[in-house]
């Protein structure tokens, strides 16, 4: 299926909605497989929050169920970070810390959107995401301070996911258009430096960067 041209607001709803949808589906893969029962419930809870966000956003963009289950893979608008494989628990937590730190900053600003639906959505979701970020943060600290093995796995997890962070701050024509209309916050104003301070306290300027950057863009849906 070729990508359908939609108005910038709908496109934006799809992007934000697909981020939540895909991350929620990824986390759902843990269900029944987490290291311990309590963590299983914890991750399923996070997944449910995200699927709930996606439901709201995709239903605003169109028929939520059809959008979630009847699109072809290349028609999804999510960022690369959220679709990264779960890996081990540390890699999942690294992905979650990086994404929800950014998402929390985005949602805080989105509460002031000129778009009433998005402002109300952000008002609800920002509280959920604040908890996600906090939980991921606690786990990063514990795994980092745990055993030699847990620290190595945590560092590997950050290493894997860090190269997909830059994309979160990119602005293309569609996004610029919704920014100009006051619908979306400008991610460049979130500031990569403050993001780094937020997500990796004490790590300083030397973020993990030993893995190569992803390809500049994914293939498009049309040949």
């Amino acid at each position: 299926m070729a990508t359908i041209a939609v108005d910038p607001r709908t496109e934006y709803l799809l992007r934000v909605g697909d981020d939540s949808l895909v991350l929620g589906q990824r986390l759902s893969e843990w269900c029944g497989h987490a290291p311990v029962l309590e963590v299983d419930i914890s991750l399923a809870n996070l997944a449910l929050d995200l699927i709930g966000q996606a439901t709201l956003l995709l239903n605003e963009a169109g028929d939520g169920d059809r959008l979630a289950f009847h699109r072809d893979v290349l028609d999804f608008k999510n960022c690369l970070l959220v679709e990264q494989p779960n890996g081990d628990f540390a890699q999942t937590i690294a992905r979650h810390l990086l994404y929800t730190t950014w998402q929390h900053m985005l949602l805080q600003r989105l509460t002031g959107s000129s778009d009433r639906f998005l402002a109300e959505f952000a008002h609800k979701a920002v509280k959920e995401v604040a908890y996600h970020r906090e939980l991921a943060r606690e786990w990063v600290i514990r795994l980092g301070d745990g055993t030699e093995e847990s620290a190595r796995r945590m560092a590997d997890g950050l290493d894997w996911n860090w190269r997909f962070v830059a994309e979160l701050f990119e602005v293309d024509g569609t996004l610029q258009s919704v920014i100009d209309h006051g619908i979306a916050p400008d991610p460049r104003e979130l500031g990569r430096l403050s993001f780094r301070n937020c997500s990796c306290p004490g790590r300083g300027a030397a973020g993990p960067a030993s893995r190569s950057a992803p390809a500049p863009r994914r293939p498009t849906g049309t040949p």
Binding site: E38, S42, N45, L135
Partner: protein
């Protein structure tokens, strides 16, 4: 793995004015994560407004073998029950 972590008893206050009630337990490496696990396990359906977690090992429990001497003497002392008072309808949770 879970057995490496200590057990924590979870108490939930359902709403302001009520006391915390024991609802179950969770495993967690420390108090902060015990709170997170308790939140995710026991308050995901709006069950509470406040949570306590207590290390299970810190609870001093009575010995079931001593139940006879501890509790049975109270059985025939009905005068200790405040059943002879009229409780106003407006007073909840007594």
């Amino acid at each position: 793995m879970s057995s490496d972590w200590p057990l924590w008893e979870v108490f939930v206050r359902a709403k302001g004015g009520l006391s915390h009630r024991h609802v179950g337990s969770v495993h967690a490496p420390d108090g902060e994560l015990a709170l997170a696990h308790a939140r995710d396990t026991y308050t995901r359906r709006l069950e509470g407004v406040s949570l306590w977690v207590v290390p299970s090992a810190k609870i001093i429990a009575s010995d079931p073998d001593r139940a006879g001497e501890l509790f049975e003497p109270a059985e025939d002392k009905i005068y200790r029950h405040p059943t002879f008072y009229d409780i106003p309808d407006e007073v909840k949770h007594i």
